[in-house]
């Protein structure tokens, strides 16, 4: 049975490597992904800041298409997309009136049959840590990988949480440990990076992301692991600006969870797209004997 896959807009631009490495890793795990055909953007923050109906209708079209395609589930790698898809799904599940209203707007009926998941809880639930451990061929020994969850994977907890504890989630830590790495406890797991303000108030993003990098350094992390293209964009692409503003060059590699998995599962470095990062992970990986 194939799992529905919703790549999201960043998969075609700034987070290409997240998409590339996710597909590679799924092949290694024997998981068949099927893209939702003709998916559209989930609307992200601009939609919910502008019109509630729009913020529900844009994700719901994708859910309706996935259903029509015969899929039982839809998995996405982007925390923002996951948040919007899951909130839309839960909202219409609770209110038949809203479902009818939004179905009319979309023009395709959604019957609420899908399971909506994020890559991280998909790994946890559908693959499981034991199976993951078995598949590891190159354990990530001596790598201290700080897991960064950000906002949209964990909040609001009654609708989207991937972990029982929204203030101190550990689900990604479990995955990273299954790969043989160490996941340190640290202070900024769920602090906001400023996501939606990336272009409009870059100064705020530079401040917030700088604090996250500083905290990870303080925890002696070798890298930060992320599960969202927006977190990645802010933490990786803004590092040179953070360096000029804070006077500290953290040079901290930011890795997608799928990339870290790819290395541990024995996918070739060149096939993972890691060289597309602004902050190179090559030195760190060489130092740890992983490349």
């Amino acid at each position: 049975m194939a799992y529905g896959y919703y790549p999201g807009c960043s998969a075609h631009g700034t987070a290409k490597e997240y998409d590339i490495s996710t597909r590679k890793v799924c092949v290694k795990l024997g998981i068949q992904l099927e893209d939702v055909a003709d998916w559209n953007c989930c609307g992200a923050s601009p939609a919910h800041a502008t019109s509630e109906e729009l913020s529900l209708a844009l994700p719901l079209r994708n859910l309706a298409l996935a259903e029509k395609q015969g899929l039982n589930s839809i998995m996405t790698t982007c925390s923002a997309c996951y948040n919007r898809l899951k909130v839309a799904h839960e909202t219409v599940k609770e209110s038949p009136e809203t479902l009818n209203r939004i179905n009319d707007i979309v023009g395709e009926p959604y019957n609420k049959t899908l399971k909506v998941t994020h890559f991280v809880n998909f790994l946890f639930e559908e693959v499981g840590l034991e199976k993951l451990k078995e598949k590891v061929v190159k354990p990530l020994e001596n790598v201290k990988a700080a897991c960064y969850y950000g906002c949209l994977l964990t909040r609001p907890p009654e609708l989207v949480t991937i972990d029982a504890d929204p203030e101190n989630p550990t689900i990604m830590d479990g995955i990273v440990e299954a790969l043989g790495a160490e996941a340190p406890d640290w202070s900024h797991k769920t602090e906001c990076c400023g996501a939606s303000l990336a272009l409009s108030r870059t100064d705020i993003v530079v401040r917030l992301s700088g604090e996250i990098l500083k905290a990870a350094r303080f925890a002696d992390a070798d890298c930060i692991v992320v599960a969202c293209p927006l977190c990645y964009a802010n933490l990786d692409m803004r590092q040179s600006q953070i360096a000029s503003r804070h006077g500290v060059d953290y040079s901290l590699p930011i890795l997608f969870i799928s990339e870290l998995m790819g290395i541990a599962l024995g996918v070739n470095y060149d096939e993972l797209g890691i060289d597309k990062h602004m902050v190179s992970a090559a030195n760190m990986l060489k130092e740890k004997g992983l490349m």
């Binding site: 631009g13 290409k16 559209n40 601009p46 509630e52 907890p157 996501a195 597309k276 602004m278």
Partner: protein, 188 residues
């Protein structure tokens, strides 16, 4: 600052409660929302102050505040509020109402960003990041913003000018036309 209480005190609070579906009367000003807000440093009114101003019916003060536009929608406040007030949802409601009623934009770049983002989806069904960044810089007159970054991204193969449109662009356009909001009217 001296506030003049408005005769429509109750009305404004009720309007916000009605539009957002969040009961604003239960907020008891503990300040927990503000304590965890990542953007509070840049805000003129803190989230708990916004809540109090709504309760007091100070509509103009609230709707002309930059605070809702600076809110990053991180949902920390909503998650932590002991009275289960969905403050992030209220921030959405305030943005929508401020646009509808034509309040002067205190954070024009945020408003411009949202509009360009949504226009891109309306026309193509998907967001085209490269075009979003270019149009945003042109419209907000920041021609050289992130140019160095853009060059580096280009070298990494992450800048794309190709049209990433979907087949169902008409279906997506129809969603925009049918959604209640302020997308096809007035200033937008």
């Amino acid at each position: 600052m001296i506030y003049q209480l408005n005769a429509n005190v109750r009305n404004f609070g009720e309007t916000i409660s009605e539009l957002s579906g969040v009961d604003i009367s239960t907020c008891y000003q503990c300040g927990k929302c503000t304590a965890g807000c990542p953007v509070v440093m840049e805000m003129s009114h803190t989230p708990n102050q916004i809540m109090r101003l709504i309760q007091l019916g100070l509509k103009d003060e609230v709707l002309s505040s930059p605070t809702p536009w600076l809110c990053a929608s991180c949902e920390t406040c909503t998650t932590r509020c002991p009275k289960e007030v969905d403050i992030a949802k209220i921030m959405d409601t305030l943005r929508i109402l401020a646009l509808k009623e034509g309040y002067k934009r205190k954070e024009p770049n945020v408003v411009a960003f949202n509009k360009i983002f949504l226009d891109s989806i309306k026309n193509n069904g998907r967001l085209q990041e490269t075009k979003l960044a270019i149009v945003f810089n042109l419209k907000t007159l920041q021609f050289f913003k992130d140019m160095m970054l853009g060059q580096k991204l280009f070298k990494k193969g992450k800048i794309s000018f190709s049209n990433d449109s979907i087949k169902g662009t008409d279906a997506v356009k129809a969603i925009f036309e049918r959604s209640k909001g302020f997308l096809n009217k007035g200033e937008r």
